[in-house]
Symmetry: C2
Subunit: 162 residues, 2 copies
């Protein structure tokens, strides 16, 4: 009798996830990990690696000149101090500029630099591509639906739409 390969008591293919099996949050969290990793790879070397924060900030500043840090912070669900540091980084990389708001002494306005705008173009491509690649296995129709639902959840989470 040939030595047979030892299978673990509970091989991956067959383990149930207990209660988590039916839990949206588990899947969201797991998929998020995979998604983030994938994205990080695609952004390698791009000055904007590691994260949703930088990308969103870059795109928002690009498409909304003069947008304020605190507004972005709300959208990416971070607190102001984290946001501040994020902006610091981006300024170091010469992606955006920060100036005081002319009409409100507390606030700042962010503007894109040329380098930032270039990067934003690249990032747009990468971000859309990665999202569609990643969900390539999901039928078009389901993707739409998913997008719809998640968008609503997101907005409700922010407290927009009531």
């Amino acid at each position: 009798m040939p030595a047979k390969k030892k299978a673990p008591p509970h091989p991956v293919e067959t383990v149930g996830l207990d209660v988590l099996e039916d839990t949206l949050s588990f899947y969201i969290r797991s998929i998020n990990i995979a998604l983030s990793r994938d994205l990080d790879h695609r952004l390698e070397g791009l000055d904007v690696a590691r994260g949703t924060g930088k990308i969103t900030t870059l795109l928002l500043v690009d498409s909304h000149p003069g947008i304020r840090p605190s507004v972005i912070a709300q959208l990416i669900l971070r607190d102001r101090s984290a946001m501040g540091r994020l902006v610091d980084q981006m300024i170091d990389h010469d992606l955006v500029t920060r100036r005081n708001a002319p009409d409100d002494g507390r606030a700042q306005e962010l503007h894109i630099t040329e380098k930032g705008a270039d990067l934003a173009r690249k990032v747009r491509e990468i971000a859309t591509k990665q999202s569609s690649d990643f969900f390539a296995g999901v039928p078009e129709e389901d993707q739409e639906r998913l997008l719809d639902i998640l968008r609503r959840v997101y907005r409700r989470t922010l407290g927009l739409d009531q």
Copy 2:
């Protein structure tokens, strides 16, 4: 003319998310943040705070006695070293035990402790409740659909189901 409140150039309610608006990954990531925070709150003081990893591990060990760290690692998308540390913590908290696999000198088997089993019960409630609370605004039918889709994506990500 009364001093009117200064509105920022781009108020939160109206800023578009540029390309990200139509990107599944953005929403997944954002919702993930909110979800994790919420969960952390609900788990406060419970020995298992901070994270998907611990919860999943706890439940899996409870419902699959003898399951191996490496198997769990695959399911929660972490590398073995992270998994090892996770188990260390849980052992410190007296939630699980670790013993060498009798038939495979490389492997280990995890078992739940009494304290761990108690906690697992609580966690099951909390986890299911939080997920349903969080998605309460989404119609039942959509939730099912969502769950279905995400489950498939998850499994495909793991490389199960081809």
